[in-house]
């Protein structure tokens, strides 16, 4: 009964989404206020119906209702409750429902908090949101119905893919979707602006919080996914340039560009058609990611079970959404008038540079990801494009970007005084140079690129701090004055500095782990020791232990430092999940803050006491996670800026929660 209710609610949501699309769009076209106003209630109704539907599926998982095919395929009665719930989105059908729920929540948030929008713009934004809803709800209903029943019901389920039974991955999809779907709002605003034929500073101010929120979530989603790959896959790496990873990274890069170009539209009333194009392309790349992951078009370690029918349906959706919006862009964008002029050396110039580099980087990754497919289509045979390509093309684009990032926030609008800015950054430049040289000296013959990147990371970190220090006139006026300036400084300034400093920290982590990682693979017998960097690992042996829905072979390592002091006991595991019939490796990670110690246990020798053991010394990896957190914090602080709230005098209550945080 409950699953049918969920199914029925989803069908109703599709009908409501159709109303939400047609009525406001036609109303805005004809200038009919009553029709335009229909968008808001429709968006709220859609959210309610989708929430009921999602709740019904969640209920089926919680009570282990094995008459529902989706629950049978992805759950098991012995699975811990956390993974029963997260199993809802640990599969294709359920994750589509989560996607739709988030889309509906964003739509409802526009309806609730968009009171200060011009009615026709609001109607069009909601209409476009409704149209996206139609696409995804119909896709789910017609090709991926999660409520399908099975008869006769089996006694128990087939269990969730054990790799996904993990706290990191439990929250990775919701975060990622909040990011992907968040960009749908920027997309809807862009289409609405093209329909209106008007892009101005107010428009940019409405778009920015949504983009910022989406960017913050996507940053978190990508970091969580990368963290999961790091500790769960047991390969000692955190990024593999896999098509699915690239699919999430491309919208992030382009979304970052959008975030910055929207500032130029807001402050200087220029770069309009470019910003509109970025908004369209960012969401298009999110859709493309969905397509790649779910159609089986490219191989990946993360892919969902694929089905060509679904692939064709999503492709049709892509053609309508991306093709349609780009057509509209081609027709309407040429008539958008640009505003303020600026010199190449200026804040605008810096942001244009940022946009060019980010867009080029995105294009490079897109080409690398799709190249195997396109070459195959042209009859060139099968190839794989691996990390060497991406490292060779992506890294050289990022180095100048990081350099410009240090300068950018200190440049003045219109025309900047470059020598003046450079002289204010001399401390950052000096420390950066010193950090680079010190790295070169310490690593003694290691990669020069690593020293360069470390120098740039130090430069960026200090430049971000210098920017704040300059703005509050630290040490140049009495401290009381500095304090009052610091309190008066807009939060978005703190957000910028935090996000930039966070990236600097993350870069240090990326460099450390790629340039100085030490890997030791060997067969070890119990009692044997291995030295790795300054640490001595002793292999104590392997025990068989039962888990709730798996059997574990748990190895024990004791780790001592150079003086023989005990530092840690590490217990990597090999687990077998009998129901899913899959083994997983659970890496043991002990963090020393400046580095991680990482141990993985492999196979036992056939007739001997030895085990294959992989030990890694991973320098600076914790910085990667810390940097990501600081970047997210920067996004949140910037979101709380007063500028993004003013002009909304009618709003009384505080936002409900993170999902609906970005008002107006």
């Amino acid at each position: 009964m409950i699953p049918e209710l969920g199914h029925f609610a989803l069908i109703l949501a599709l009908l409501v989404a159709t109303v939400q699309t047609l009525v406001p769009l036609v109303g805005a076209h004809r200038g009919n206020p009553a029709w335009m106003a229909a968008g808001g209630p429709a968006a709220l109704a859609q959210m309610l119906l989708v929430a009921v539907s999602f709740g019904a599926l969640t209920y089926a998982y919680v009570v282990s209702d094995f008459t529902v095919a989706n629950v049978v395929a992805n759950s098991h009665s012995l699975k811990p409750m956390l993974y029963k719930v997260t199993g809802v989105w640990g599969n294709h059908e359920g994750s589509m429902l989560l996607w739709i729920l988030i889309l509906a929540v964003f739509g409802a948030a526009v309806a609730l908090f968009g009171n200060n929008l011009p009615p026709s713009l609001k109607a069009r934004v909601l209409g476009i949101q409704g149209l996206i809803g139609i696409g995804f709800i119909s896709f789910t209903l017609f090709t991926s119905n999660p409520f399908e029943r099975i008869f006769p019901p089996p006694l128990d389920g087939q269990d969730l893919n054990p790799l996904l039974q993990d706290p990191g991955l439990a929250f990775h999809p919701p975060m990622l979707y909040l990011g992907y779907v968040g960009f749908s709002v920027a997309f809807a605003f862009a289409i609405a602006a093209l329909l209106e034929g008007k892009v101005d500073a107010a428009w940019a101010r409405w778009v920015r919080p949504w983009t910022l929120a989406a960017w913050t979530f996507l940053t978190g989603g990508i970091a969580l996914g990368s963290w999961w790959a790091y500790y769960e896959l047991g390969w000692g790496g955190w990024w593999f340039w896999d098509p699915v990873e690239n699919a999430s990274f491309m919208p992030w890069l382009l979304g970052t560009a959008l975030l910055h170009s929207a500032i130029v539209v807001e402050k200087r009333d220029t770069l309009k058609s470019w910003t509109i194009l970025l908004a369209i392309l960012t969401f298009s790349l999110s859709l493309l990611g969905t397509f790649i992951v779910r159609s089986g078009l490219l191989t990946s370690v993360h892919a969902f079970a694929s089905d060509p029918d679904r692939g064709l349906y999503i492709l049709a959706m892509l053609v309508v959404a991306i093709g349609g919006s780009l057509t509209l862009f081609a027709v309407r964008a040429p008539s958008l008038k640009g505003g303020g002029l600026f010199q190449p050396i200026s804040r605008e110039g810096g942001l244009v540079m940022n946009n060019l580099l980010l867009a080029t980087a995105t294009a490079t990754i897109l080409i690398g990801t799709l190249y195997p497919l396109i070459l195959d289509a042209l009859g060139g045979g099968l190839v794989t494009v691996g990390p060497p390509f991406f490292n060779l093309t992506f890294v050289p684009l990022m180095l100048p970007l990081v350099f410009v990032m240090g300068l950018g926030p200190l440049l003045a609008w219109k025309r900047a005084d470059l020598p003046g800015v450079l002289s204010r950054l001399k401390v950052a430049a000096g420390v950066g140079l010193l950090a680079g040289l010190a790295t070169l000296y310490v690593q003694n013959g290691g990669p020069v690129l690593a020293a360069l990147a470390m120098g740039l990371a130090a430069w960026l970190f200090l430049a971000a701090l210098t920017d704040l220090a300059e703005k509050v006139k630290l040490f140049r006026t009495p401290l009381a004055d500095t304090w009052s300036r610091a309190r008066g400084l807009p939060r978005s300034q703190y957000g910028t500095a935090l996000a930039h400093a966070g990236l600097a920290i993350a870069i240090a982590g990326m460099v450390g782990s790629s340039a100085w990682k030490v890997e030791k693979i060997s067969v070890m017998v119990p009692g044997e020791t291995k030295q790795l960097s300054d640490y001595v690992f002793t292999f104590e042996g392997v025990e068989r232990l039962p888990g709730p829905n798996y059997m574990s072979q748990t190895a024990t390592f004791t780790v001592r430092d150079g003086d023989g002091r005990l530092i840690a006991t590490m217990t990597p595991e090999k687990r077998v999940y009998p129901v899913a019939g899959m083994p997983t490796t659970e890496a043991a990670i002990h963090t020393r803050w400046l580095a991680d110690l990482y141990a993985v246990i492999g196979d036992a020798e056939e007739n001997g006491p030895g085990w294959t053991v992989r030990l890694y010394y991973e320098p600076l990896v914790p910085f990667l996670w810390l940097g990501s957190l600081v970047m997210m914090l920067g996004g949140l602080v910037s979101l709380s800026d007063r500028r993004l709230r003013v002009g909304a005098p009618r709003r009384k209550a505080a936002p409900l929660g993170p999902a609906v945080q970005p008002a107006e």
């Binding site: 191989t299 099968l382 056939e606």
Partner: protein, 181 residues
């Protein structure tokens, strides 16, 4: 001219759309292993010997224009299937007189030496690849992996995973015979 710029994104997207449609419609299987190396010359590489193992290192020159067929086997002491495969490699060199060379993948010199002391060393040359760089150029997907290289230095066959005894007669020896011609 300026308008063309605005149409460009649409044109690029439509091109990509056609490629996607083809990819879905043609039923291609992206998980097929690329066989780009077959009938290609061996990659450029130059590996030093494994310390304490008394055979020389391995480089591209040792595989090109040798006048005989060579088996290139990628192995590691920590790899359990390599141990299982080892007696078969020994037999191939002793009974069939095949020239066998090795690439020692991500291994410690002491461990490799102990491995070969325990089980015997059938390799005429062994290149040490502690970082796995050269193996990457060979398109390695895992250890063990074995390549058949002909007299000119072209890769004729690639075997992923350990060689089982039945495969010696049914696969490996016929390919060696064919490569000799």
């Amino acid at each position: 001219m300026r308008y063309l710029l605005y149409v460009l994104p649409l044109v690029i997207f439509l091109g990509a759309g056609v490629a996607f449609w083809w990819a879905l419609d043609s039923g291609r299987d992206p998980s097929r292993l690329p066989s780009a190396l077959i009938d290609q010359p061996v990659p450029e590489f130059d590996l030093p010997p494994v310390a304490t193992v008394p055979v020389p290192g391995l480089a591209t020159a040792d595989l090109v224009d040798t006048g005989q067929v060579t088996l290139v086997n990628v192995f590691a002491s920590w790899c359990v299937p390599c141990k299982a495969e080892h007696p078969i490699l020994v037999r191939l060199t002793e009974r069939e007189g095949v020239r066998l060379v090795g690439i020692n993948y991500k291994d410690e010199p002491e461990d490799a030496a102990r491995f070969l002391d325990d089980l015997g060393n059938p390799y005429a040359r062994i290149g040490a690849d502690p970082e796995g760089r050269a193996s990457l150029d060979w398109g390695l997907t895992g250890v063990p992996e074995t390549f058949v290289v002909d007299a000119e230095g072209k890769i004729r066959y690639r075997h992923v995973g350990p060689i089982n005894p039945p495969e010696v007669e049914s696969v490996i020896l016929p390919i060696i015979e064919e490569a000799r011609r």
